[in-house]
Symmetry: C2
Subunit: 148 residues, 2 copies
Amino acid sequence: MTQSFRDKLHGEGYRLTRERQVILSFLETAKGHHDAVEIHQRLRINGHRISLATVYRTLNLLAELKAVERLCVEGQPATYEINGADQEGRPHHYHLVCSVCGRVMDMDPGSLGASMQKLEEKLPQTYDFRATGHQLTFFGVCDRCASS
Amino acid sequence: MTQSFRDKLHGEGYRLTRERQVILSFLETAKGHHDAVEIHQRLRINGHRISLATVYRTLNLLAELKAVERLCVEGQPATYEINGADQEGRPHHYHLVCSVCGRVMDMDPGSLGASMQKLEEKLPQTYDFRATGHQLTFFGVCDRCASS
DNA sequence: ATTCGTGCAAAACCTTTGCACTTAT
DNA sequence: ATAAGTGCAAAGGTTTTGCACGAAT
């Protein structure tokens, strides 16, 4: 649990509860994409009795504070991933989504990242649209599913 | 209503019903992003009594046949847009989503389209992932919302 | 002490589905 | 005639919310 998270909470008038610490810790350790129900169940297995409603409320809060990133994929519940870098509104990676099993993987933007950011800045000229971020997702078949 | 749509329907053993024609016609005329409930209501206003269930079933079918494109945006119902070009699995445009009002606009991929396609082809080398398509969405503030 | 967070259960919301009836082929 | 599509109402899954209780400040 980073100090900056505590600060952000306090800065906005939120409280540092046990539930919020537990959920954030879980995401820091689990290091992948997890939906609310999954998080709820795995916390329960680890002996934590946090209600599903609180898991949802906490994930919304963490997403708002940009402590986690929310990803919405068609036909699946929203998934949440810890936000490593503490950058402001800049997506630090893209996603690969397997159309067969639904698994979500991270992808390094590489040199593409800079081009996309430039594009983002040039958007207003053409479309009268002030972009604050973007999201790039590739769909396809992951290694596991390809080999079976 | 394109001939190719009729052919596609028949080719897969589907029937050309009045409901399907009406829904497709609506999307051809409306030319934007529309969700199921909105389509249902506007058809109703135009005197068509098509059930919401049929609207959903038809949109699923049209999406499967790639006659329309489905777009899922966080916190909003799925929207559907007529698929102009009859290309196979290749996204022909990207999206601008206004974070304030939720409006979705189309964006011409321009030269980016080719780079992205190349990237898609190179993905397996790095990530062991066979990509079949991708989706790029910019978030920000649209002209209408910026001026108010 | 006060304000905010939590748990529970109920609701909201979008979407799908079972079944009997209707329609396209 | 037959198989597929439709409408209705009910259920499904995900997420939010009202309210009374509990906990952090």
